[in-house]
Symmetry: C2
């Protein structure tokens, strides 16, 4: 495989890159380094089958040229910030919807037929059925992030139908693990590092969410792209369990040996458009033989250990 990985310097992307190289595939990473980190590609960059191109998905010419010679696109680049959509609504439109359109057009120009895409359980909005299956009732969008990811799914599916492409769409729960640089474990760890005696928590702590360890996520992606061969293949990726925010806080503080006073912002939702209960029915990917090896608790601990060993990711970066 000649893989083209957008967002390949990011959390999930760089882990995928290492995995693909270990499987002897050629890998081109395309990343604008707005949130990605070259440090995550240090090992990859020693590899002869690896190439890094710094570029933006909103620059179609550079993108098209960069994709030349590839035959499989892993499109992981995104504005992944579900929380702050209403602060800058154009960000989800540009970095998700329009960026994905540009990726598909670059594929067309280069006759690349296959695309795997990181979508999100957020597209289900506040699902009436939990655990939520892939074919649940057409949901009403509650976040600009979810809306943009659903728009991307629609584009990919329409390109598959219209141009004979093949797509794998993965609706992730939150992913945890090495190189994790945003999300609640990151936030809580950082806050506790600044002040071990107090932890401020958005919402009332009762939000229930599911999480998946990054290597389990990659296992599922590679299983699906190998075994699922419809024109459009859609899979929920998650664990078969969920936890409350307060449980997560318990795992974190226990691991760190801390007993902070917990302060809650209150309210059922952590932020506007937050979904107080995300839990996906993953039986479709299970039927392909893919199950996570790590529990949510183990994923959280592995994430914390990595953060402890890589304090540099907690520092504010200089502008590039």
């Amino acid at each position: 495989m000649k893989a083209f990985v957008t967002g390949g310097a990011g959390f999930i992307g760089s882990n995928l890159v290492d995995r693909l190289l270990s499987l002897n595939h050629d890998v081109v990473v395309y990343d604008n380094l707005s949130t990605g980190r070259l440090e995550f590609l240090e090992e990859a960059s020693t590899h002869g089958q690896f190439r890094f191109i710094q570029g933006d998905l909103l620059d179609p010419d550079t993108l098209r040229k960069a994709m030349e010679g590839s035959n499989f696109v892993f499109h992981l680049s995104a504005n992944a910030d579900v929380r702050f959509g209403t602060d800058h609504p154009e960000k989800d439109l540009q970095q998700n919807t329009i960026a994905t359109f540009n990726v598909l057009e670059a594929m067309r120009a280069n006759s690349v037929q296959k695309i795997a895409f990181s979508s999100t359980g957020s597209i289900y909005g506040e699902a009436p059925v939990i655990p939520t299956p892939e074919d649940c009732a057409l949901p009403v969008q509650t976040s600009l992030y979810g809306a943009s990811k659903l728009a991307c799914e629609g584009l990919i599916s329409a390109y598959c139908e219209g141009f004979g492409m093949q797509g794998w769409i993965f609706r992730f729960v939150s992913i945890l693990g090495e190189r994790y640089t945003h999300g609640h474990v990151f936030d809580f760890y950082k806050k506790l590092r600044d002040n071990p005696n107090e932890l401020f928590i958005l919402g009332d702590g009762h939000q229930k969410k599911s999480y998946l360890y990054v290597q389990d996520c990659l296992d599922a992606i590679l299983t699906a792209t190998e075994k699922a061969q419809e024109a459009v293949n859609i899979f929920n990726l998650g664990t078969d369990e969920y936890i409350q925010v307060t449980q997560s806080v318990g795992f974190i503080t226990r691991h760190l040996g801390l007993q902070p006073e917990l302060k809650f912002a209150g309210g059922e939702r952590g932020w506007i458009g937050d979904n107080p209960f995300i839990f996906l029915d993953c039986s479709k990917i299970r039927r392909l033989g893919s199950s996570p090896r790590f529990t949510i608790e183990k994923g959280i601990i592995k994430t914390l250990k990595w953060l402890q060993e890589n304090a540099w990711v907690l520092e504010k970066r200089e502008s590039l």
Copy 2:
């Protein structure tokens, strides 16, 4: 109401404008006249409560200024051409998705809270359940047009959630009636006018579709915006019947007194991404007391009569 109608010089838009004026509302039409016709606004323009602004939805500054003082947006402007999406994929992205984003941003800038939007039954792709209800299983998109309209729905819903707006989303079947200027009745009529002895039909003639007469469509829109008061209100709009293409040809040729030889392109689909069976479950709008007064056959005859009386719309226009 101070209504702002995008695409107000178009087929459905101009009919809506006349209706709103007859109900004593103020109306601003915003239209770039790319497919809209000033002729459709002749009667409206004699009205003191009417104002026309020529502008493009891809010009956010002009749009924002034009919307000042309005309090209800009817967003009907769109690339409505479901058939030729693969010829120019950027058209659906720009004229539907990005244009809708610009409308929502202009609303935000002007503190306009309410939007009614013309979506489409095409968002259901090839629905496994027919007649298809609003809450059918999350569909896989088959056309760039449908994908872009679903993206617009997602944006509108997320803005309602994120910015306290209120939205009415209408998933239309094909609309028929006065000022109809594209679609199969238009195409067939035009072809038969050029050659009454032969009619070339895309697909095998067995595609089954539903149609709604434009005044019945407007009745339903105005009923819903008055009676449905959720944050996001989604309604299928159609008739409780469908016809095959060959039946439609029968209605048309009988009305015109012609007996052309029918030639079929063949194939289940009329074009890439065509859905061979579109029939919507409209029980949700029926429960609000809205039912069409005209059958599909009557809608087709009314459309034909209008085309016969308005031959000028069949002529190719000079570029503006």
